[in-house]
């Protein structure tokens, strides 16, 4: 029996829990990544989309003849052709919202600025762009609606005549007894309006694809950076009549996604159709200005008529409000957002009585996609703003008010008013840590000093507490549409022993920077007793060779649970197969076999050992030795992790909507210049809890990234439309993406509260809960005078803050004493 040198004993310290350096980095550091625009195909043509310059317009006619006469132009595609070649995409919404007709190019009408109305394929990138200018489109401009609340009024212009209004979905969520609470509270705080603004996490790599429709096989090969190909396939396949196995999605490295690249299937469809027409692969790389105008945006939400019952001891009983969510011009992923916020219906607090009248509207703006923190960060910001304003108006200490109302460590597992189950956590300890990191008492003293010494600077201290709910129960989709055949969740992985005993892992996920190759290798290494360096995790995703389920993809804070859950299951299956084969080879009982260092051996007898290459040899090339056992082992182990969900109750809108709840408590100190309104962050702390920490530095990296998106959105990043639907800042010159100079140093700390529900104690955590939005609004509010300006918007520029400093008179907040 041969033996190999083993550097790692089977009893070594687990790899999970360590900051193992990333396996992905080397190729990315050397410029050897393979991003979508790096992919070329023989005979490809370059595609350029001609886009609507209007926010809302009837398309009277399109004439492509001048473009088609240009030498080097291969094909054009118009909405009229698309309407003949494509069925409208499946809609998640029930009627009437679900009656909306959505195609890959505008058909009959353009409903937002930048909507693609025609495509042209040509020999070069520049030729395609020039040719697009020769497509003559006659528009009849129509009045636009860009206000997500006014859009619901019956007398506003209607985007989709088939719906009859701009209301895509409406429903009331009612838990506890809000009427009783408002009647019996010692105080009721009323807030007229809070507004969560429109922004985008704007991945640095724009959307891109090379799509080739093979006329011989009927296979549509799609190299793209779409981050949820199985979702895309479920929309594209029925629309263009291609069965799933012929939609061949491939990706390797993806330059960020943040949810924005989930709904790119419309472009992939158009590329497929023009590829078929031209008989050539269609290569397309979005320009940044196209990305900003017409990929996807984060949801804008307005909260109206807010009533908050509060007891004299500071107990907040709940709230009533109306929410208007502005989905933009088409629904696509929506109206899932109309239920997904309910995963965090009470936020991190023990609120019992909640009534939300939720309306999703359509406006002449870019369609929304599930941007990082999707639908929950809007609601979590609302709750934190409410808590802060209750503290201010009723003169509670904002720290003590939070402490009193937080879900307490002994409450877990905590059942929320809508039957979600918060798995674990310790919010008070996180708050302590966050305040310690910013030296809260010292900051309060500085604040008092600047107030008393006549300085033109003001200090503000802010706190934001949020949740990152992960691993969706897709059954919640039935709450928005009881007819949908969705529930549960899951992810697939495949672990195999290859010909020479190498361990190779394939995932169902589609990472965009989340370090899946590294954390999957750590996980599998522990189970098979190896070093992560020797575990090969195949980069990227390929639907022909990777395993997947309908939920596969990388989105919604779930890889640590579903992706690694699948990797664990597959690796354990492989470990058992290796043991069974080793037992035969070593003439021992299976129970006696242990695995480590790339070999299986009989416990306590180091002489009786077989390396993985020997196991592989027996199964792949020497199976007569194994006899019948060869029929039952394959060394190719697929496993699907399935979280234990039940179907929610669609009538009462109750159920366990997500498996895990990571939490974030942020705190910051800002200095505000009274003369300019400029906000400078003096100190910023982020404390994170996400269950068992698989790779601490990867977690910290996600915390940093989510924090940057939040700070960027709070102070710099906002998408502005004119009333007629013109996007006013559609590139990185005008849309100020946060830079290294804007970004403060982030102090971090953590609390570890393993999830009792996930297979490894971990929680999904990549999205964060948008805590910086709450934290900065809280800090700005804290710097304003008592009785003065009220922070009612997520986005506060220097000018906004300058106005808040000078606000007097009517206030949007009232306190009703009982």
């Amino acid at each position: 029996m041969s033996s190999i040198e083993t550097e790692v004993a089977p009893t070594t310290e687990p790899w999970v829990g360590r900051s193992v350096p990333r396996k992905e980095d080397r190729r990315l550091l050397k410029g050897q990544g393979a991003f979508t625009d790096d992919i070329w195909m023989h005979r490809q043509g370059y595609v350029h989309f001609l886009r609507s310059p209007h926010g809302h317009a009837r398309i009277v006619s399109i004439d492509t003849s001048r473009a088609e006469r240009m030498t080097g132009v291969y094909a054009t595609l118009t909405g009229e052709e698309v309407a003949e070649q494509q069925d409208p995409y499946f809609q998640i919404a029930p009627a009437p919202g679900g009656d909306l007709k959505d195609y890959c190019l505008a058909v009959g009408k353009a409903r937002y600025m930048g909507e693609p109305v025609a495509a042209v394929m040509a020999e070069t990138r520049t030729l395609a762009r020039d040719a697009a200018e020769l497509i003559d489109v006659e528009y009849e401009p129509l009045p636009a609606i860009t206000d997500g609340v006014r859009a619901a009024d019956p007398d506003t212009p209607v985007l989709h005549e088939e719906i009859g209004s701009n209301v895509a979905w409406n429903g009331v969520y009612d838990y506890g007894d809000i009427d009783w609470a408002l009647e019996n509270a010692d105080h009721v705080v009323r807030i007229d309006r809070l507004h969560f603004h429109r922004f985008t996490s704007a991945p640095l790599e724009c959307s891109a694809a090379v799509v080739s429709w093979d006329p011989g096989t009927g296979v549509v090969e799609i190299h793209s950076n779409n981050q949820m190909p199985q979702f895309a396939a479920q929309f594209m396949g029925p629309a263009i009549g291609v069965p799933s196995q012929r939609l061949h999605f491939v990706s390797q490295d993806i330059g960020g996604g943040f949810g924005i690249k989930i709904t790119s299937y419309t472009y992939l469809t158009a590329l497929a159709l023009i590829s078929r027409k031209a008989g050539r692969p269609a290569k397309w790389t979005e320009y940044r200005s196209e990305h900003m105008a017409a990929s996807a945006h984060g949801n804008e939400r307005t909260f109206l008529d807010i009533e908050v019952p509060v007891m004299s001891d500071g107990t907040i009983l709940g709230f009533r409000m109306k929410a208007f969510d502005d989905a933009g011009a088409y629904l696509r992923y929506e109206p899932l957002g109309a239920v997904i916020w309910a995963q965090v219906v009470a936020g991190p607090y023990r609120l019992k009585h909640i009534n939300v009248d939720y309306t999703e509207t359509l406006t002449n703006k870019c369609p929304c996609g599930p941007n990082r923190g999707y639908s929950r960060l809007q609601h979590l910001w609302f709750i934190e703003r409410v808590v802060d304003l209750v503290a201010r108006e009723l003169e509670f200490d904002p720290v003590e008010l939070r402490r009193r109302n937080y879900v307490q460590p002994e409450d877990y597992p905590y059942v929320t008013p809508n039957d979600c189950v918060y798995d674990s956590g310790d919010l008070p300890q996180m708050l302590d840590k966050a305040l310690a990191l910013i030296d809260y008492d010292g900051a309060r003293r500085r604040q008092a000093d600047t107030r008393s010494n006549g300085s033109r600077k003001r200090i503000g201290i802010g706190i934001g507490s949020t949740l990152d709910s992960g691993t969706n129960n897709f059954g919640q989709a039935r709450i928005v549409n009881p007819g949908l055949p969705f529930s549960g969740n899951g992810e697939a992985a495949h672990v195999k022993l290859d010909l020479y005993g190498e361990v190779s892992v394939r995932l169902g996920t589609v990472p965009q920077g989340q370090s899946h190759e590294t954390t999957a290798a750590q996980t599998v290494a522990d189970i098979l007793g190896m070093d992560p360096d020797t575990v090969d995790v195949v980069a990227g995703h390929d639907t022909i060779s990777n395993v997947y389920v309908g939920f596969s993809g990388t989105y919604a804070s779930q890889f640590a649970v579903t992706g690694l859950g699948a990797a664990i299951g597959a690796a354990e299956k492989l470990r058992e197969e290796i043991k069974v084969v080793a037992a035969v080879a070593l003439q021992a009982d299976v129970d006696e076999i242990e695995i480590g260092g790339g070999a299986a051996r009989v416990a306590g007898d180091p002489e009786r050992e077989i390396p993985f290459i020997g196991i592989a040899n027996l199964v792949y090339a020497n199976n007569a030795v194994l006899g019948d056992l060869a029929d039952t082992v394959s060394l190719n182990c697929r496993y699907v992790y399935r979280p234990p969900f039940e179907v929610p109750d669609v009538e009462t809108k109750r159920g366990n909507l997500t498996l895990t709840y990571a939490s974030q408590v942020h705190a910051c100190v800002v200095e505000i210049d009274e003369d300019t309104g400029a906000v400078e962050i003096l100190d910023y702390a982020a404390v994170d809890e996400c269950g068992r920490r698989i790779n601490p530095q990867v977690i910290e990296g996600q915390v940093h990234g989510a924090t940057a998106h939040g700070i960027g959105a709070a102070l710099y990043e906002a998408l502005h439309y004119s009333d007629d639907g013109q996007l006013l800042n559609g590139n990185f010159f005008d849309y100020h993406a946060i830079t290294a100079l804007d970004m403060p140093h982030i102090k971090t700390d953590e609390v570890e509260a393993p999830s009792p529900f996930s297979p490894n104690g971990a929680k999904g955590m990549g999205e964060g809960g948008g805590a910086p939005l709450s934290t900065l609004c809280s800090a700005i509010q804290d710097a304003l005078d008592e009785g003065g300006g009220v922070v009612v918007d997520t986005h506060n520029t220097s000018e906004d803050v300058w106005r808040l400093l000078r606000a007097r008179g009517d206030r949007p907040v009232q306190v009703m004493a009982r």
Binding site: S19, P21, R22, E24, D25, R26, R27, L28, L29, K30, G31, Q32, G33, A34, F35, D37, D38, T71, G72, E123, R125, T126, L127, S201, A202, P203, L204, E205, C206, D253, I254, G255, G256, F258, T285, Y287, R288, S289, Q512, G513, Q514, S515, Q697, E700, G701, H704, G705, T707, A708, H709, N731, F732, F733, A737, T739, A740, L741, M743, H745, I746
Partner: protein
């Protein structure tokens, strides 16, 4: 299709290799690097010269290659991310990026490495403020810059030796 009047001869050294070729007048340096030379490590992230994903060294100066025409590098020496390290190795800066988890999606990374390499050539021991200033033209949407700044500062000692 290409009008001969719009074609310019260019002799340029890229990552140590001399290329003698012609380019169309409108060809951007970044497209010459990516499409003509096939060096795909230099990326494109915006249309306006803001994001820095396309940063390369032109005669040692960090330059956004989307803001320059290929014809303008005639006679110059260009270094792209592929030219920073030897075939098998990593530079101290690249190693520091791995050690400090300064890479997530990796799309901005080549441009950031080029800008930071130029900074460390110029200022072997930069302060945090100097690092942030040197990288203000390189957008990163994943890391919040925290670990990038840490990695550049960690690499500084090594480079200065």
């Amino acid at each position: 299709m290409t009008d001969p009047a719009n074609v310019h001869p260019v002799t340029v050294v890229v990552n140590g290799d001399e290329h003698e070729t012609t380019v169309e007048a409108h060809t951007l340096l970044v497209h010459f690097i990516r499409d003509t030379l096939g060096l795909r490590g230099t990326h494109i992230g915006c249309d306006t010269g803001n994001c820095g994903a396309c940063t390369v060294l032109v005669d040692g100066e960090p330059t956004k290659s989307c803001m320059m025409l290929a014809a303008q590098v005639d006679g110059a020496s260009v270094t792209t991310v592929e030219g920073l390290s030897e075939r098998d190795g990593l530079t101290g800066l690249q190693q520091a990026f791995n050690d400090h988890h300064a890479v997530q999606c990796g799309y901005c990374t080549p441009g950031v490495l080029v800008s930071a390499t130029a900074l460390l050539e110029r200022e072997p021991n930069p302060s945090e403020e100097e690092v942030r200033r040197a990288l203000k033209g390189n957008l990163c949407r994943c890391t919040g810059y925290v670990n990038i700044v840490a990695a550049v500062r960690a690499a500084a000692g090594e480079v200065s030796e």
